[in-house]
Amino acid sequence: MSSKLRILVPVKRVIDFAIKPRINKTGTGIETKGVKFSINPFCDIALEESLRLRENNQDLVENIHAVSIGPLKSQDILRTALAKGADNSTLIETTTDNDVEPLQVAKLIKKIVEKEKSNLVILGKQSIDDDFNQTGQILAGLLNWPQATNASKIEINPDQNNEVFVTREIDGGEDILKSKLPMIITTDLRLNEPRYASLQNIMKAKKKPLNKLKPQDLGIDKIENKLEILKIEEPPSRQAGVKVENVDQLIEKLKELKAI
């Protein structure tokens, strides 16, 4: 295997994080018409990290490839990824109305890993719409590669055959894992602060490669979700609370509510 890094960054188009989602009238999904979509924040962090790996080690990274799975509109976020610095990209265009589940997504990405000869896949730890937190780990399982989830720091040592040290956020603190390539890393929020794409780079990105494929082109004839969504509903709403004037009233109210 080449000693250089060929990084694959899967990115997902999701409803913008600042928007409160509305449930559709039939109670089967989330209203998407006229809603602002953006790149999933954790995917943005994954992309940023791969760009920084290249910037910090000039000769280390051979290629950064962005891939997205979804409707044709997902090409917008691939253009954004290209504008930020990805070299080339693939859109796997799906036609289903429903989101593709992590297991199916991971199976599709595995095909791209093989096609692009990737040896490092950096993904967001979860997408902020379905909140699964699964795709990276499933992909690692399918490929039988090592995995490091919730990364808050990534260090690669080119002198030691590209040994990778990943600091992870875990319950109660953090730990450090060490691995050889190839491997899978998923990103936590604290890993980095993603950059903005400059107008000049946005213009340049229009000329960068964006390869459109159908799942069939990768030998996957049918995307079959295994979780049937029976209904989507609003969480129970909270009773309106009261505002108090001062600390004494606050304590009195808490006693009344038997909270203290």
Binding site: I23, Q147, I229, E233, G241
Partner: protein, 329 residues
């Protein structure tokens, strides 16, 4: 009654209904999140077998064996399984699930559970269900999506059900009189491809654990700096015997450790009392605490969204309000 009959019928219509639950140990026994997982497991159908990993497995197993609802405990006692790395435990879990024909596998939605569950899903070709908050029937579950802004009821078509459990949605199983048999796991499976554990740094604290505390005092950006955070939040939390939490803004600004973050991407808590100090109440944060029983908001901005979910709100300068509150409690 109806659901009981349905359960009986269901269990007869298959060979059997058996749940394997991954249990994590803490210094003094079973992790609270794992006890909640056992409760969720008992709601699926009897019997529940617990599995424990690591070189200290025996002592954890001893505690699990006393837990109500657990009918058997398996111990994979090997230094290999310390830290429960997904690459090491997933292949063994797959073998045990297939050999002993478990129909369900549950784990807490902890950092370990989140790391292991999907990898196991890949090995079994199963789509796992993340962070269930309700068991409707043995194949149907409710889980929050979009940062808790919607609840999805999903039915799995897989023959083996894999799921993680949101601990705050299920009460912990009672540890007491039960005496389940403990069996050692003798087989082993190599994935041959694992990351290696180097070191860990756990934040030491005398306080209750954030995820399972009955009271939480959380600080946000409004505290301005680490000094104020420590000066105001610590004494109040001590007075209430509460765990300390924080908003993402507070963590990012370095007021406190990452592991204290409450929210969609941090800890999900549902204590009896949640006091939000200087926290505006972004969607991301609300996702982590809006199932608390009583929410108190103290903020100088009367329009802060946190007041929309607070049972009791006080608009005021936290530099004055918090010391006064601490003193008067």
């Amino acid at each position: 009654m109806a659901s009981y009959i349905a359960k009986r019928l269901f269990s007869r219509s298959r060979v059997r209904l058996d749940t394997l639950a991954l249990v994590e140990g803490v210094s003094n026994g079973v992790s609270p999140a794992s006890l909640s997982t056992i409760t969720a497991a008992t709601e699926i159908g009897e019997p529940v077998t617990a599995i424990v990993f690591g070189s200290n497995g025996d002592s954890v197993a001893e505690a699990v064996a006393k837990t109500e609802g657990v009918s058997k405990v398996l111990v994979a006692k090997d230094g290999e399984y310390d830290h429960c790395l997904a690459e090491k435990v997933s292949p063994l879990l797959k073998k045990i699930i297939e050999d002993q024909k478990f129909t369900h596998f549950l784990t807490a939605g902890s950092s370990i559970g989140k790391s292991v569950l999907p990898r196991l899903g890949a090995l079994l070709d199963v789509q796992p269900v993340s962070e269930i908050i309700k068991v409707v029937d043995p194949t149907t579950f409710v889980r929050p999506i979009y940062a808790g802004n919607a609840l999805a009821t999903v039915k799995s078509k897989d023959s083996i059900i894999l799921a993680s459990v949101r601990a705050s949605a299920f009460p912990p199983a009672e540890v007491g009189g039960a005496t389940a048999p403990v069996e050692q796991v003798t087989e082993s499976v190599e994935s041959g491809n694992s990351a290696e554990f180097v070191s860990e740094q756990i934040v030491k604290s005398e306080r209750p654990e954030l995820g399972s505390a009955t009271r939480v005092v959380s600080g946000g950006r409004g505290l301005k700096n680490k000094e104020t955070f420590d000066q105001l939040i610590d004494p109040l939390a001590t007075k209430l015997n509460a765990a300390i939490g924080a908003s993402r803004a507070a963590v990012d600004s370095g007021f406190c450790d990452n592991s204290l973050q409450v929210g969609q991407t941090g800890k999900i808590v549902a204590p009896d009392l949640y006091i939000a100090v200087g926290i505006s109440g972004a969607i991301q944060h609300l996702a982590g605490m809006k199932d608390s029983k009583v929410i108190v908001a103290i903020n100088k901005d009367a329009d802060a969204p946190i007041f929309n979910v607070a049972d009791v709100g006080l608009v005021g300068d936290l530099n004055e309000v918090i010391p006064e509150l601490t003193k008067k409690l």
